[in-house]
Amino acid sequence: MRTNSIAPGAAYLIAQDNADARLTEKYGADRKFEKDKLGEPVIWAKNPDDMKLLAKSFKIDPSFLIDFLSDITAYDNVDLEDGDKRFVLVYQLYSTTRHVRIRIKCLLGEHEQAVTLSDEWAGANWLEREVFDMYGITFRDHPNLRRIMMDERFSGHPLRKEFPMKQREPFSDNIRFHLGANPLEVDAHITEVGPGTPLTTKLGQDLYKPQGSK
């Protein structure tokens, strides 16, 4: 009697069961392990550094070979039902070779800092920016932690439970031009040096006083 959308007898279920067994035996010693409604494993990390350690070790573990980051998200645990801290950060991981999914969760306090995953997976960059924008969770060592969905002048973190739905803020102009992490400083790479290019003319040399050596 089917109780969900999974096709019966699908090949990946065996690999997923093996993965669940391996998770409990190798990593579940002092970490909480549970299964969600669809039978996918959820492992609770002890702290943000532990989360990153788990993700990295899943990458090399032969029964998972996790190589794909599906999602980084968070939810507000303000009623403290999942633990005693305010936020829960969630990683969804997947393996394109073994076809297994693993979810890592971690409790975070209101002013606690998480660790970025963008040095392992480049796709984590914008996902963490969105978590910061919506919840206010900061990530240590993130290259570009700015708001992504809301205007950078917006105040408040919308997906927190105490943020009212209809609290709008008007903006009078479009956001400033920027080329990366810091909108106020622009890195100008002047690639060509030769006759007629800025650095060889007197005017060019006055305008762009180069710092440091060539």
Binding site: E162, M165, R168, F171, D173
Partner: protein, 201 residues
């Protein structure tokens, strides 16, 4: 003066009538499609519901060359200044069609980032209901606009909201005057109260 078959090739009329006739039959749209209504606008412009039958063939994506702005889709507070800039860059005479529920009134999105209708920042001539309106609906709106142009050439210049008006028009501004009854707002204090009440029972 007449042709051999009796039809004539000049018609005495007022200059304003001639101008109205020319303007209404050659409305060049500037499509400002943001979301789902943009796809229906794309369908309207394509071959099945050909919009060029009504003179709106030249779909220019430059506001300086267009005289009708079709705002199709949800406008967020981040996008609003961009829309206003495009509107300001258009030359007179210009008309605005608010296509769809989101641009007429915010639609199904009454949230922290959506402008509740573009008439908070610019005067609108025709509102098209629908989510999204089917292409026939948009064509109906353009025909209605053509009638409006024909009837109302002595319309007063639009009272454009000033910047302060637009700022004040946006209701539920942060911290000002709105009774926030959203019953799912939960703060840690609410949680403590609820737990205390439960223990009392």
């Amino acid at each position: 003066m007449s042709n051999k078959d009796g039809s004539s090739f000049f018609y005495p009329t007022l200059l304003s009538e001639a101008a109205k006739w020319a303007q209404k039959n050659s409305l060049w749209p500037m499509p400002f499609g943001t979301s789902c209504c943009g796809i229906e606008m794309m369908s309207t412009i394509s071959s099945t519901y050909d919009l060029s039958r009504f003179g709106a063939e030249v779909v220019r994506f430059s506001p300086r060359q267009a005289d009708m702005l079709i705002v199709a889709g949800t406008i967020t507070t981040k996008m609003a200044p961009v829309l206003r800039t495009i509107y300001d860059q258009m030359l007179e005479p210009k008309w605005v069609i608010a296509m769809g529920a989101c641009s007429s009134s915010g639609g199904i999105f009454d949230t922290y980032s959506v402008l509740q209708g573009i008439d908070e920042i610019m005067p609108v001539d025709v509102y098209v209901p629908g989510c999204p309106p089917i292409p026939e609906g948009l064509i109906h709106a353009i025909i209605h606009l053509q009638k409006k142009i024909e009837n109302g050439m002595d319309r007063k210049p639009a009272e454009r909201p000033t910047f302060d008006d637009a700022q004040n028009a946006m209701s539920y501004r942060k911290g000002v005057g709105y009774d926030l009854k959203a019953n799912f707002v939960i703060t840690p204090d609410h949680v403590k109260e609820a737990k205390a009440k439960q223990e009392l029972k």
